[in-house]
């Protein structure tokens, strides 16, 4: 073995003496020298390398004389396969794309450098995922994100209308300016570039095709259509709303499998995004392209309906699908609850279907009830098993409440069905009270109360929340009880009963801290804000200030949800807004008042 091998870096880098710092100085200096004079492409003077990717390099450049800044995309080395014919076709494609004129599509100026470089409008902005990361957590974040995506979808629809597919929609191809103006890059180039031999075709992905549709993965770019662009935009929307990629397979094979199966790697969408909006994303990125939005205009339309709080096409479809799937999946559970109640919920949903089909299904469901009631009777004889089934049924009620709430809001007939269904659940609960543990009964009541609130029956819900608190005071602390107290606190605050609200919040906070379960971050952040508001309004300024400081020790999700509101709340009540970081919880020794 050479002596150099024993300590190889000492000799090469001058660590044996003092020359290492000279080497480091030279290393820093050489980079500066290289960046000082980058050269030119055609008439354009290169100012900076902006990005380097699978298709080529993007430069920022300036045209001497006009001093206009432009972006120049210089494509990968031409290969033998990228012959004259392919090049001509590519240039024709570029001409078509260059004819697109839309405020949200980057304008192409010209093609230079023997067809290898495209000169485009320079956009000062951030890639849409980074922009969304900077927006999330601020007041009105969701509305800003949705508006940007609605415009992006409209712009892509405009291009589709001129027979131009994008084929490579991903965050780096959508820039957003400081004015929230979106600009889409690289329209229609992907197919032609795919004809050239690139690193990708040689068998390696230099990037990860997280936004590729199942049909793109399986059949290549020549099989993609309008719905593949819809899919890709859906994945980008998923990323921007949740901060997570929908598919994060550790290996390429796993990633492709997940995309094909439509199996997201996490539950970020359902846990952080309102149901209606999640339904839009899910429909856009459905693995079966026949079940996606048929056009980008349809997607833009649903985003607009969501903005106006109107029913979306995604949500209605999803509700009916969920209802049908629910009845199929939970036949036995439905019966365990006896479930006139749950069945009526199903029927209520079914009413949204037309004519004889409804009648036929309703009769079939009634037949099933008779069978399942018999099964229920037997199950009740089994004692503890009943409790388990009750817990499962609670999940069913929750699912159903979520499925049906939007429909119920719009139709009094459906609302009545739902009320009767929940009443049936309540009756069942009363009947079984000796067999069900208080915590389980409370969880069930919580599900029913939320269901009633979702259809606007706040008085009915309040009755359940109060029952939960009454029972909870004599049992183990639980999140359900803390939640009931927070809800009652909110109602009291809304009615101006400030001191009563404070009492509820204090008790709720004590129960939450004593409970071993974790609290839903959105519910917790809302409760925190209301509590601070109530304390301040009741004159408990020191306690409100302490609660404000304590909130910094909550989870990142809670801190993010609170970030926008804390300063405003502090200002409203003359409190001191604490330093607020989303990056890390303050240490345990953080100063407290």
């Amino acid at each position: 073995m050479h002596a150099e091998d024993a300590t190889p870096t000492d000799a090469d880098f001058g660590f044996g003496g003092d020359t290492w710092i000279d080497h480091l100085r030279a290393a820093q200096g050489s980079r500066r020298d290289h960046e000082a004079c980058l050269g030119a492409i055609g008439d354009y003077e290169i100012q900076a390398v902006v990005a380097r990717g699978g298709q080529g390099v993007v430069y920022k450049a300036r045209q001497p004389g006009t001093e206009r800044s432009v972006a120049i995309k210089r494509l990968l080395l031409p290969s033998a396969e990228f012959d004259a014919r392919a090049r001509r076709r590519f240039q024709r494609e570029v001409e078509v794309v260059a004819s697109l004129r839309h405020p949200n599509i980057v304008t192409m100026h010209s093609v230079i450098d023997d067809g290898r470089s495209i000169v485009m409008e320079w956009v000062e902005g951030s890639e849409i995922d980074r922009w969304a990361d900077s927006v999330r957590g601020q007041r009105g974040d969701e509305a800003r994100i949705i508006e940007v995506f609605r415009r992006v979808a409209t712009a892509i629809a405009y291009a589709h209308g001129r027979a131009v597919l994008h084929r490579d929609i991903k965050p780096s191809n959508i820039l957003v300016t400081s004015e929230d103006e979106a600009k889409i890059l690289d329209f229609g180039l992907a197919r032609d570039l795919d004809n050239a031999v690139t690193l990708t075709q040689l068998g390696q992905f230099s990037g990860t095709p997280t936004h590729a549709s199942p049909e793109h993965i399986d059949h290549g770019l020549h099989e993609v259509d309008v719905r593949s662009d819809v899919y890709a935009l859906g994945t980008v929307l998923y990323r921007c709303l949740t901060g997570r990629l929908p598919f994060e397979g550790k290996t390429l094979a796993r990633l492709f499998d997940d995309i094909r199966e439509g199996r997201p790697s996490n539950a970020a969408l359902s846990s952080t995004v309102p149901r209606d909006l999640a339904a839009i994303v899910q429909k856009a990125m459905h693995r079966d392209r026949d079940k996606r939005y048929a056009t980008m205009t349809d997607l833009a339309g649903d985003l607009e309906r969501y903005q106006r709080r109107e029913p979306t096409t995604a949500r209605h479809a999803t509700a009916v699908e969920h209802a049908s799937a629910f009845v199929r999946r939970h036949k036995s559970l439905a019966s365990m609850l006896s479930i006139a109640g749950v069945l009526l919920l199903a029927l209520a949903v079914q009413e949204w279907r037309a004519g004889r089909e409804i009648e036929r299904e309703r009769n079939a469901l009634r037949d099933r009830v008779a069978e399942r009631d018999a099964a229920l009777h037997k199950a009740e004889q089994r004692g503890a098993q009943h409790e388990v089934e009750m817990l499962k049924a609670m999940g069913v009620v929750r699912t159903f409440a979520s499925v049906i709430s939007d429909i119920a809001k719009e139709d009094e007939g459906v609302r009545e069905h739902v009320r009767r269904a929940f009443q049936a659940v309540e009756d069942r609960l009363q009947k079984s009270r000796l067999e069900v543990a208080p915590a389980v009964a409370n969880a069930m009541r919580g599900a029913v109360a939320r269901g009633l609130e979702s259809i606007g029956d706040h008085e009915g819900a309040r009755h359940h929340w109060e029952r939960i608190v009454t029972i909870g005071r004599n049992t183990e602390p639980s999140i359900e009880v803390a939640n009931a107290l927070a809800t009652l606190g909110r109602a009291a605050l809304d009615d101006g009963r400030v001191h009563e609200a404070v009492a509820y919040y204090r008790e709720g906070e004590a129960v939450r801290r004593a409970a071993s379960e974790s609290y839903d971050p959105r519910t917790l952040s809302a409760a925190k804000l209301s509590m601070i508001d109530a304390l301040a309004r009741a004159g408990h300024i020191a306690e409100a200030q302490r609660a404000l400081l304590d909130a910094r020790a909550e989870s990142r999700v809670v801190r993010r949800a609170l970030a926008g509101a804390v300063r405003e709340l502090a200002s409203k009540h003359g409190l001191t807004a604490p330093p607020w970081s989303l990056e890390a919880k303050p240490s345990a020794s953080a100063p407290r008042k």
Binding site: D5, P8, F13, F15, W20, I21, L24, G39, G207, T208
Partner: protein
Amino acid sequence: MAPSKDEPGTRATSDTPARRTSPTLLERLRAKDAHEAWARFEHEYADLVLAYCRRIGLQVVDAEDVWQATLLRLLGAVERFEYDPARGRFRSFLFVVVRSAVVAMQRRRASPASAVLEDSSAAASEGTGSDAESEAWEAEWRHFHLRRAFQALEAEVDARARRIFGDLLAGLDIDEVAARHGTTRAAVHKVKQRVRDRLRERIAAQVRHEDGES
């Protein structure tokens, strides 16, 4: 497979490691499902190849072409097992690949070569490069590792130490730095020593990652 003139070779070098116990960078690139290793390689080593190309006088667009060609050639070489890590360091192998991409690019463009390249056309055709080119490559390889290590290090040291070392790097002597920061010569020495030790550790790790651990 015997390397062709312009293809990467397997020539043994004087810095041949005797044995290795961890996979080399090339072995990681060859591994099944190595897209992450490739992405990392592209991200990190573009700096070395582009800096070398600029050093020998290429414009940035030509340097980018060389880098793209290097990646393609490297990919082919990795798939064809043209590199035997037991017989030479990775940097020597990469230099041969880069050198050959530079020559091919210049032939295609038929443009006048820089002084260094004109001086070395004979050596270039053998894929080994002239002494001047080898020296340029070695210098850029050193700079590349120093920049990487220093960049990582900057995030680790506290702001005051960063300022003190920044002044040393800017060329101030120890007394000037000590006076400027209201501290002692010993304290400045300590900062310098700490940076040196950490750089040394980091660079050793980076080179081990490149060549495999001996």
